[in-house]
Each structure stands twice: as C-alpha cells, then as structure tokens.
Symmetry: C4
C-alpha cells in the first residue's frame, strides 16, 4: 500500500490495486454464504398438525441438503477467487466489472437455493424447473469465473509473474471441462433434481483440487 510506483496509467484508465477488490469481494462472499441460513425455516408450532418437531425437521432434509451444497460451492469459489487474486498486482476497470459480474452470480445463490429447497421433493415438473434454475445459476457463475480469469491473465504486465501460454491453455481446458459438466447438470435437473444437487456437491470438490495450480506454482509467494 502507498508504495509509489512509476508505472504509467494504461488502457481504459488508471489501475487499482487488488486490496480493495478483495475486501469488497470477501464481503459479498461472506454475506451470501451467511444469508443462506435464512432459508432454513423454523417450523411454526401451530403448523405441526400433531407431528413432532423431530419429524417436521427430518422432513426438511431438502433444505439442509441445498444449504450444504450452496455453502460448499460459495466457499470453494471464495478459495479459488483468493488464489486468482494472488496472481495479479493490479487490476484494470474491465476486471472490476468482470468481478462485479461474478459477485452478481454469487450473491443471487440464496434465491435458487431457497427455490430448490422448497420444490426439490415436489415430485413433479416444478421440481425440474427449480433444479434447472439452480443448475443454470451455477453455469452462469462458472462462466463469470472464466471471464474473470481471462481478464486477470490478459494483461501480463499486471501479473506478479507472467503465465506461460501452455499453463494458460491448460487452465482454460480445465475450466472448459468444468463448464461442460455444469451445463450437463441442467439436463440432469430434468431427470433427477436430487442427482443434480449431488453432482454439484461433487463438482465443488473437483474444483477444490486447485485447477489454478499450474498457473500459480511458479509464483514466489502470494500475499
């Protein structure tokens, strides 16, 4: 911070350090992940209709399942966002917008999560609709993350260490693979909403195995 630099302004305007980009993004990630809990509804005593509370809570399993998967997904994106920000020293205005697009898809997640929790076991076409909306949100998020990655790596001079073309291609191939898998879950939503949700849990675990590794392993240290 405050280290004066002789680097001249470039392109569409002066650059920003990644510090405040990360602070704002961390805020949005932290709030979106914590707002998920508002989708877990306490059964009203008057609405138990002779059921025990234990039965009523057990009946809510789709809400817990959707909560867990969405929590995992947002948590993994945060970790990968963290790793990606560590690649760059400075970001331009275009990257701020790509980041805003990613935050849009992240901060909306509590809505499809709540939708899916409500309709997962409806056992009709509405369950398919809710599951497809959930899967489509994840596709949008994956796309936004890829755009942001391209925006981060596009300007080699802003990186701590330039990424080789081979590493970039390898990272993009992995994003592509993940993207195809995400798209396939929209189709899966029309077959089995529960399988769709389980697949997203698995995809989150896949994404956690550091698909940015080849790009990062040559860096001395992330701050």
């Amino acid at each position: 911070m405050n280290t004066p630099s002789s680097e001249p302004p470039r392109g569409a305007g002066p650059d920003f350090s990644t510090t405040r980009l990360e602070a704002f993004s961390d805020g949005v990630f932290a709030i979106a992940i914590t707002l998920l809990v508002l989708d877990l509804k306490v059964p009203e005593p008057d609405a138990l209709h002779g059921q025990t509370l234990a039965d009523s809570l057990a009946h809510q399993w789709p809400a817990y399942f959707a909560y867990l998967v969405s929590f995992l997904v947002i948590g993994i994106i945060w970790i990968n966002h963290h790793a990606m920000c560590a690649l760059a020293r400075r970001v331009d205005r275009r990257t701020l917008f790509a980041n805003l697009l990613l935050l849009l898809t992240v901060s909306v997640i509590p809505y499809p999560t709540s939708l899916l929790a409500t309709y997962l076991t409806a056992g009709n076409t509405d369950a398919h609709t809710a599951a497809a909306v959930y899967a489509a949100t994840m596709v949008a998020m994956g796309l936004a993350f890829t755009l942001l990655f391209l925006s981060f790596t596009r300007n080699a001079r802003a990186l701590h260490t330039p990424i080789s073309q081979a590493d970039l291609t390898s990272a993009l191939r992995r994003f592509g693979l993940g993207g195809v898998a995400y798209l396939a879950t929209i189709a899966l939503a029309y077959v089995s909403p529960i399988a769709m949700l389980a697949t997203h849990a698995l995809l989150a675990v896949y994404y956690c195995f550091d698909q940015l590794a080849p790009a990062r392993k040559k860096l001395p240290t992330q701050h």
Copy 2:
C-alpha cells in the same frame, strides 16, 4: 499505516486515514448489494393456484429487472467510491459525515427496489408512485456522491496530488449533467415506470465510464 507524520491536526479536529473509511464503506456496499436478493421471493407451493412454477417465475420478471438495475447501480457507485477514495490521503470529520450520508442512500436501496418490484406492473398510479420513490432515491444518492466528492477535494492538502480548478470544474459539470438526468427520471416515472428503470440501467453504464478520469489521471498510483 502507522507511518508517523508531522502534519498538525487541522480544522474541526484531527484527520483520519482513508483505510477504515473504506473498510466500513465496503462493508455497507457489500451488504446492501447482497441484501437485494432477499427481495426475490420464492413462490409458495400453495399459492401457485394451478400455475406451473415456470409460469410463476416468469411472472416475477419485474423483481429480476429491479434486482439487476439496483445491483448494477450499487456496484458502479462502489467502483467510483473506490476511485474517489484513492484521491485522498486523509479525511476530516466533515468527510466522514458526507460519507455516512452517501451510505444512508446506498443502504436504503433494497427498500425502493422491493417497492418497485412489487408495483412495477400494477398498471395504475401506484406503479408511478413506486417508480418515483425509486428515482428520488437515486437523485438523493447522486447528490450525496457529489457532496462527498466536494468534501474530498475541498482540502487540497489532503490529496495525493492537488486537482486543478479546470479538472474540478470539468468533474462537477459531469456530476451536474448526471444529476439533471437523474432528476428527469422522476418525471419519467410518471410516464413509464419501466422506461424509468431502463434509464437507470443506462445511467449506471454512463457513470461507469469513469467520470473521475480527469481528476485521477495525474496521480502516480492509487493504493
């Protein structure tokens, strides 16, 4: 941080660094932008009345539209707030209050957004009222941003690099232009609420083209 400075306290009291001003503001921006999602309501299964979920969701388009525009507006203000804070080294108490006024107008945005989402397609005078409240909130926000800009630039000694009178006048002319456009959307609200909302989407894009550029381009580097 912690760099001792021999600068004496000035005016209405000692100054503050911009670090914590930014941290608190980032928090409010991040929360306001993420709370918008609470305005997207999941249709209750009992309230579908034979409609499919897909139809019911399609029917909610005003809520998605209002969500998107408000998300864009808050995101752009954040980017411009970020750029403005980069101008100053230290802020005085008056600037803290001007900033608080801006945060008031930002953090209230989920309310007119929800109001507009509910009444946008009511097709009567209530739609006009909701749209006018939305537009008036944006006018208040634009005014608060201008006040904050004046407060930031008023004290040349607190700036990284003094802003020339010409650059200041040019920036204020742009603010004025934006302000007139904002005011005009209140009138537009009484003609077409949907056109009013679309105009705010366009105004956000206008504001994103860096109206602070002339003031900033002479700075060595923003932190």
Copy 3:
C-alpha cells in the same frame, strides 16, 4: 503489521493489535446499520384497502423516522469507535470483551427500532413501552461505550501517547453528561415517544462533536 516488537506479554494474556478488532467491529457496525432497512416494509398490494400506495407510504413515517435516527446513532458510534481505536496500539483480552459488549448493544438496535416503528403512533401505553425499550437500549450502548473507553485508556503503555489525568477526567465528565441525558430519555419515553426519538437524533449530533477531542489532540497521527 508484522512489525516485530520486543514488548513482553502483560496481564491476563498476550495482547492483540487493534487491526482485527477494528475489522470485526466495522463488520458488525456495517451490518447492523444496513439491516435497519429490513424494518421498512413494502405495503402488500392486497392490504391497501382502497388506499393509494402514496397514502400508505406517508402513513409509514414513524418507520422512516426511527430508521433515520438509528442510522445516525450507529453511524456516530462508528465514527467515535474509529477515533477511540486510533488511541491505542494494542488491546488486551479485557478490552476485547468490553468491545464485544458494545457490539451486542449495537447489533441489537434493529430490534428496538422495529419495535418503535410499529408502536410509535399506537397512542397508548404500548407506545410508551416501545419508546422506553428504545431509550434503554441507547443507555446500555452509552454505558458499554464508556466501559470500552475506560478499558482502552486504563493501560497507558498500550496508548500511542499517554493521556493526562486532566484529559481523562474531562472526557469522562462528558460521557457522564451524555449518560444522564440518555437516562432522561427513558423518562421522556413515557411522556412523548416522538420527543424521545427526536432527542436521540439531537444527542447523536451532540456526540458527533468529537467528545474524544481533548484525548486525541496530542497524538501525532491516527493510523
């Protein structure tokens, strides 16, 4: 940050820098101030009963008034918390707890605000109850702030510059004066809830005139 220090651990355990204390507190302040907006309820179209939306919104003025005063109060506390944290280099565990107590009283504010918004114009004993709960919350907050101030200044070695006994006494006299005024608003709540709320708006403005000034004016610079 990370500046190694030879200072030995003291008292009830090792000390903490104020950095993370401020980060967590800023988070709570930012969230509490932004959650206030959830108390502004959009009138349901079905519940207008022939009233226009404009009439219905005008009818909600107690909610706007309570929102504004609570926003102002939290904003002022944040500014003064900011000024107080700038006094110290390090805090001990006792100060962390005093800070937690202050955050408890701050983060609960949306509840009495909502209570007051609902009952302010009930025109009976319930309006008095709601107003007294609001005023009592402010008393608790003022008390917690005083405790935190004592905790911050108790350990002269942790301060950037020691505070003279005279300055400390003067600051405490001002806190005491404010405390008496706060207490008096509980009585006022039983006379006129609206006057009680207006008084808190005025008290916030009083507190904004830097009652920490004597203690701070000898510091070289706040970080």
Copy 4:
C-alpha cells in the same frame, strides 16, 4: 503483505497468508452474530389479544436468552479464532477447508437459536428436540474448531514459533475436556432445555479464559 519470501511451495499447493483468511472469517463471524437479531420478532399489534406490549415482550424471554447465549458463543469463538490465526504465518489449502467447516457451523447458529427460542418453553418433547439440535450444533462447532487447531499447528514451519509437544498436548487436553462437556449438554437437553442453554453460557465463559494461552505465551507479538 507483499514481503517476498524465498520459502518454496509445499504439499498440496502454494500457501496463503492468513490475511485474507481472517478477512473472510471476520466477515462471516460479524454477519452471523448480527443476523441473530432477526430472530427477535416484534409482536404484531393485531396479535396482542388484549395483552399489553410489555407483557408480550416479557413473554419473549426465551428469545432474548437464546440470543444472548448465541451472541456470547460466536463472540468467544471469534476471539479464540483471532488468537489461533495469530499463531501462524501462512496456511495451506487443507487449513482453508478446515476453516470453511468451522464457518459452516458458525453461520448456521442463527437457525438452532431461532428453533430454541420458539420451542424452549413448549414444555414437551419438542422443547427437548430443539435443545438437542442446539447442543449438537455446538458439539459440531467445537469439533470443527479442534480440527482447525490441529491443521494450524500440524505444520511447524508455518508457525511464528514452533509449539512444543507438551504445550500441544496440554491444549488438546483442554479441547477434549470442553468437547466432553459439550457432548454432555446433548444429554442435558433431554432433562432441562433451560439448564442446557445456561450451561452453554457458562462454557462460553470457560472458553474465554484463553485455553490457547500455553501455546501463545512464547510468541513475541501477534500481528
């Protein structure tokens, strides 16, 4: 920050500094602790049924009690998380996941709190169920905290100062003791939900007496 280090990447991938881990965690802690207030419901004027507001509020004591205990619990975990993060210079990917697991148990707390507030005085088996869910959440959180502690201390090279085996054993014995006490509160939930809640208030106070002290007292300074 940004201090270049010659330390080579290790294990499952490059390491991260604790800075952003703390920022994200502080965000989640701050939001979870502040969202608790949403569980305090303002009695609807129409639902008072001739009761005064004062009576109705007094009747809500289980909600205030649960709010206070959960606030205290999250606050203490934050303080101990803060102390634990001060032990390490860098964290690996495994620690990020252990931290995510802790944040999952923290961010879900508003749900069992609301459940307990609703059923604490139901005086039947549902009160036991709600209390057991609350106690089980605390067990999960204690477990996640222990896992995170192990993950932090596992890699001696990432610590500011290595922890001796004796200190580590002593810290783990204290965690074990706390864990047994937490488990016992699940049984207590079936005897007296109120005693279970009171016990968690006491356990929070126990945990506040710095069970990390032996591990930390040899460190020069936490940042």
